[in-house]
Amino acid sequence: MTEKIAELVERFKRGDESAFNELVRLFERRIYAHAYQMLGNHTEADDVLQETFVRLVKNIARLRTDANLPSFIFRIATNLCIDIIRKRQRREVNIDESDVEAARGYQLELSRRISTPEEETERRELMELITAAIAELPPKQQATIVLHDVEGYSKEEVADIMNCPQATVRSNLHIARSKVKRKLIGLLREKDE
């Protein structure tokens, strides 16, 4: 896979449009999911998805090692998400209610399927709690916790994506987890029992 990506990047750098389209196909779903996890609504995730690839074209010369493309793309997407979160926190932008509804009812799901109405209500409450707990974090902590604890990237990969030392990732993660755990303490106790 890494070799295939490196080859596509090399062709893309030579101006091959089909290689670029192939790269978009390879990463579009992961980028969309990542943006959605961070932002929680379709409209902004869609903006981030498009802007990520537009910026990739503009900045492709900056990619030194072709095989590092995944981190490079995720770094662009993460920075775009961080910018949006910062704007939101500064201006207290209200997200479209229909988007929030879509997030609750359609696009964010728990991995296990639920059948009963009680479980459905519980699922919604749980999702709201987790989303609210993450949304209260500063943007970089949000990105770190989403990348590591939700999407499952290692600390090394997170450091690469966020372009910072691993020690920073470790400390951001520690602080973010403490804050989120404090919010979810009731749920965690129930699960422990």
Binding site: F12, K13, R14, G15, D16, E17, F20, N21, V24, R25, E28, R29, Y32, A33, Y36, Q37, H42, D46, L49, Q50, F53, V54, V57, I60, A61, R62, L63, R64, Y106, Q107, L108, E109, L110, S111, R112, L126, M127, I130, T131, I145, H148, D149, V150, E151, G152, Y153, S154, K155, N163, R170, L173, H174, R177, V180, K181, L184, L187, L188, K191, D192
Partner: protein, 191 residues
């Protein structure tokens, strides 16, 4: 005591490295290394796993293929793919990525410096007037020389003759008959 703290730290470190991918893995053996040395190791481990399960349970349901096809069209309409130029490749090779934000700052600072120089010293690029003079003479010597020249030179003689002229005219006016009669009248009672 020290060993216990070290094991405790090691346990915390191990816990923090666990991610969603470890949820389906059997971690019993690794956990057993800490259960005897660390207090409540098992319950802390369970608590951490519960947290991870909660966090990683959120899954994004992706839109359908049609949506992604439309996005690809929009992206293609916004970009123009062209080969990466040789200078851009060289710049990318030479400048480490962490330095790139500094590139803008350094360029900005240099531009500001150039602007300030041009605004406050607009003639800075022209040769200084001194460069058009003869060999260097110190200020004291130059001043003394000029004073001496003034004293001995034609200007001084001109001033001297002017003063003599003024004195002669004054004496002639004061000793004139009209002037003498006025003085006398003033001395006799001022009629």
């Amino acid at each position: 005591m020290k060993t216990e703290t070290k094991i405790e730290q090691e346990f915390e470190e191990w816990l923090s490295t666990l991610g969603p991918s470890d949820l389906n893995r059997d971690l019993g053996d690794e956990l057993s290394r800490y259960t005897t040395a660390v207090a409540n190791a098992r319950s802390r481990f369970q608590h951490y796993l519960s947290y991870l399960r909660l966090m990683s349970a959120r899954e994004v349901i992706l839109p359908d293929d049609l949506y992604f096809a439309q996005v690809r069209q929009k992206i293609t309409a916004r970009v123009r793919i062209k080969p990466v130029s040789r200078p851009a490749r060289i710049r990318a090779l030479l400048l480490p990525e962490r330095m790139r934000p500094l590139q803008g700052i350094v360029s900005g600072a240099l531009a500001a410096l150039l602007l300030v120089t041009l605004v406050f010293f607009p003639g800075a690029e022209k040769p200084h007037k001194l460069s058009g003079l003869d060999r260097y003479v110190c200020l004291k010597a130059r001043f003394s020389g000029e004073v001496e020249l003034l004293r001995r030179g034609p200007l001084w003689k001109e001033v001297e003759s002017e003063h003599i002229d003024i004195l002669l005219r004054t004496a002639a006016i004061l000793s004139s008959p009209s002037s003498l009669s006025r003085s006398r009248a003033f001395g006799n009672g001022g009629k």
